[in-house]
């Protein structure tokens, strides 16, 4: 079933190989076949090593993606190693274990500390997560080499973490309206502290621009929920409801219904509105992703080097439809395998899985099917979505001002993988 994709893939890569040395363009020369081989082998080894192989797998994936990306005829190069990532992860664990222990012990306290411990821990972990994102970015940049020079990143990760947390709170409070300005501000911070050799980067995209382009989508996603909640609030008669609630006792819903006849209708209305919002969000997500990627790419500058993106929205939809289609196929396969396994256990046992050994076999089979399915889905997602997004994202970029590339000098800079490890442990890592 992957045959058709391979054919397209080969055609595309041979086309790209023809233009190996053209300046001013970005090409991705990797094929899905090789990427899939790396991922499938990685999935098997992840299974055998209880996940320890992940550092090696991530390194292999990055080497493949970087090496096959050619900007103006020259390839990127990833020089990070799996050992660094493993060390970074262990360092992160050494930081997180005492932290979790402290949270656990403070939760044992009966007084005020217990009540605030949860909130405090959440805020601290959110801050650490943003810190890790910034430091992980620094690690990846310092391990990226282009034309014999590496990238690097300066700036304070703590300052970034505080700013990022502030903008996330603002985004939540304003139901997403602050998101464009938050992103613009954070990207400005990130890129103004990003360097290629001695060539400094900057971000010229504006939050207002993103806001204007995405406002209609925001309205479609958040609008139904807002209207639904507003209508529901109007439909309910609040004074008797409050009284019914304060009386307490059993059958609260009955009492509410008795006190305010519009309540059930209001609840249904609000629920319907939320479902509508969710549907719009799912349907518009690829369009938003394309929009945000175009906006971000077109805002990146390094000295005189400027980028512009012409990423077509339809191609992002195509990627997600393909994912949907293959997910369905995977689901069918999993159901079929589970049915066969269930029947086999029943036949072997005779008593249809009520005895102890049969129960054990069933549990092991269930866990096995679950893990294999999760790994298969993740592999599928990486090949269909991540690889395609990487390819599309780069190949839709036009770069101008490349003459500046002939004057860049090296700057000594390095970084540990601690941030990457922290990001990994807190589950905020990417690529």
């Amino acid at each position: 079933m992957m045959g058709a994709i391979d054919a397209i893939d080969r055609a595309r890569s041979s086309r790209a190989a023809d233009s190996l040395g053209h300046a001013g363009e970005v090409h991705f020369l990797g094929t899905a076949t090789i990427f899939r081989r790396i991922l499938i082998r990685g999935a098997v080894l992840l299974l055998l090593t209880l996940g320890i192989y992940r550092f090696w797998l991530v390194t292999d994936i990055r080497r493949f993606l970087w090496a096959n990306t050619r900007i103006a005829g020259d390839g990127l190069e990833y020089v990070g190693t799996a050992g660094e990532l493993l060390l970074g992860f262990l360092m992160a664990i050494a930081i997180l274990i005492p932290l979790y222990a402290a949270v656990f012990i403070s939760a044992l306290d009966l007084g005020l500390i217990r009540r605030v411990a949860g909130i405090l821990a959440f805020a601290l972990l959110a801050l650490l997560g943003q810190f890790a994102i910034y430091r992980a970015r620094r690690y990846r940049l310092t391990r990226t080499v282009f034309r014999g020079l590496r990238f690097h990143q300066t700036g304070s990760a703590w300052r970034y973490a505080v700013c990022a947390l502030f903008w996330w709170v603002m985004t939540i409070v304003t139901l997403g309206l602050a998101y464009p300005w938050g992103q613009a501000s954070l990207e400005r911070y990130k890129l103004s502290h990003t360097f290629y050799g001695n060539l400094g980067g900057r971000f010229e995209g504006s939050g207002t621009q993103l806001f204007v382009r995405g406002f209609l989508m925001w309205l479609l996603v958040v609008g139904p929920s807002l209207i639904g909640v507003a209508l529901a609030i109007r439909a309910v008669d609040w004074a008797p409801l409050a009284e019914a609630l304060s009386r307490g006792g059993d059958d609260v819903l009955d009492k509410i219904e008795g006190a305010s006849p519009g309540f059930a209708a209001g609840l249904v209305l609000a629920l319907f509105a939320f479902v509508l919002s969710g549907l719009f969000a799912a349907a518009l997500y690829p369009a938003f992703q394309a929009l945000a990627l175009r906006w971000w790419t077109s805002g990146v500058r390094f000295g005189e080097i400027a980028m512009a993106s012409r990423l077509p929205t339809a191609s992002i939809y195509r990627i997600y439809f393909r994912l949907l289609w293959y997910s369905l196929l995977l689901g069918l396969v999993v159901v079929a395998v589970a049915l066969i396994a269930w029947t086999a256990v029943g036949l072997l046992d005779g008593s249809a899985g009520t005895s102890k050994p049969a129960e054990f076999v069933q549990t092991v089979a269930f866990i096995g099917i679950f893990i294999v399915t999760a790994l298969a889905y993740s592999t599928m997602y990486q090949v269909i979505v991540k690889l395609s997004l990487w390819r599309l994202g780069f190949e839709s970029v036009d770069i101008t001002g490349l003459a500046a590339l002939d004057r860049v000098k090296a700057v000594a800079q390095s970084s540990t993988a601690m941030g990457e490890g922290l990001a990994d442990a807190l589950n905020v890592a990417s690529y």
């Binding site: 190989a17 190996l20 020369l29 990797g30 790396i38 082998r41 080894l45 055998l48 090593t49 209880l50 320890i52 192989y53 090696w56 292999d60 080497r63 493949f64 970087w66 090496a67 096959n68 050619r70 020259d74 390839g75 190069e77 990833y78 020089v79 799996a82 939760a107 044992l108 306290d109 009966l110 217990r114 080499v145 282009f146 034309r147 014999g148 020079l149 590496r150 290629y196 050799g197 307490g248 006792g249 059993d250 609260v252 590339l405 002939d406 004057r407 860049v408 000098k409 090296a410």
Partner: protein, 219 residues
């Protein structure tokens, strides 16, 4: 024997892309500027590593950290020659040199499983008697508070705790009697200490079972 081939060279100090002439001999590669012919670098094969590159491109660098000088050869025949002569060139490509690491990882995974299956139970058996009663009581109280906040909605007029209603006290007394006595039943003590005023609540025995699990006397 010396042969030559064109290549692309980045010196690692600047981003300038140089067209070079690569001289290939038995022990090393000499990189000369294509126009004047000056020697830019000489790399012995023992210090060269091959770096991941797209198909049809051979990318070489100096082994060891900190040097990002790169040489690219785009002629497959020349790449073959270099690979034949420089058999000591280490490949740093996806999946290269993983076999030993993978064996170590599998060993580590088996050890982790063994620690989880044998080590942790053995350790907890030895640690549990060392835990002071005070700490254990605190743990029980914290869990008790959590269980209550989750289950005791306070909407029913029946008690949340078992054994406090009038028709339940004889049963409770009999139960307390059954518990091994050591200055009175510890389970009952524990229960009494943390129960407080009877609350309105459904008759769930969850809280009681939590007491038994957490506050029961040691074996």
């Amino acid at each position: 024997m010396t042969t030559g081939a064109p290549g692309i060279f980045f010196d690692g100090e600047t981003s300038i892309r140089r067209a070079v002439w690569v001289e290939i001999d038995a022990a090393s590669l000499a990189i000369r500027g294509a126009e004047i012919g000056e020697i830019l670098a000489r790399w012995p094969y023992s210090q060269i590593e091959q770096i991941s590159a797209p198909e049809g491109v051979m990318r070489l660098g100096r082994a060891g950290k900190g040097s990002f000088a790169r040489l690219e050869i785009r002629d497959p025949a020349v790449a073959d020659t270099i690979e034949r002569l420089g058999s000591s060139i280490v490949a740093r490509r996806a999946g290269a040199g993983h076999a030993r690491a993978v064996l170590w990882m599998i060993t580590a995974a088996i050890l982790l499983l063994a620690v989880g299956y044998f080590g942790v139970p053995a350790l907890s058996d030895r640690l549990a008697p060392l835990m002071p009663n005070r700490v254990e009581g605190k743990l029980g109280a914290a869990i008790d508070a959590q269980v209550r906040s989750m289950l005791d909605a306070g909407r029913s007029d029946k008690s949340f705790d078992c054994g406090v209603a009038d028709d339940e006290t004889p049963g409770r007394a009999a139960f307390d009697k059954l518990m091994p006595a050591r200055g009175g039943s510890r389970a009952a003590d524990c229960a009494t200490r943390h129960r407080g005023a009877p609350k309105r609540g459904e008759r769930h025995c969850v809280a009681w079972r939590t007491y038994l699990r957490v506050c029961r006397p040691h074996r």
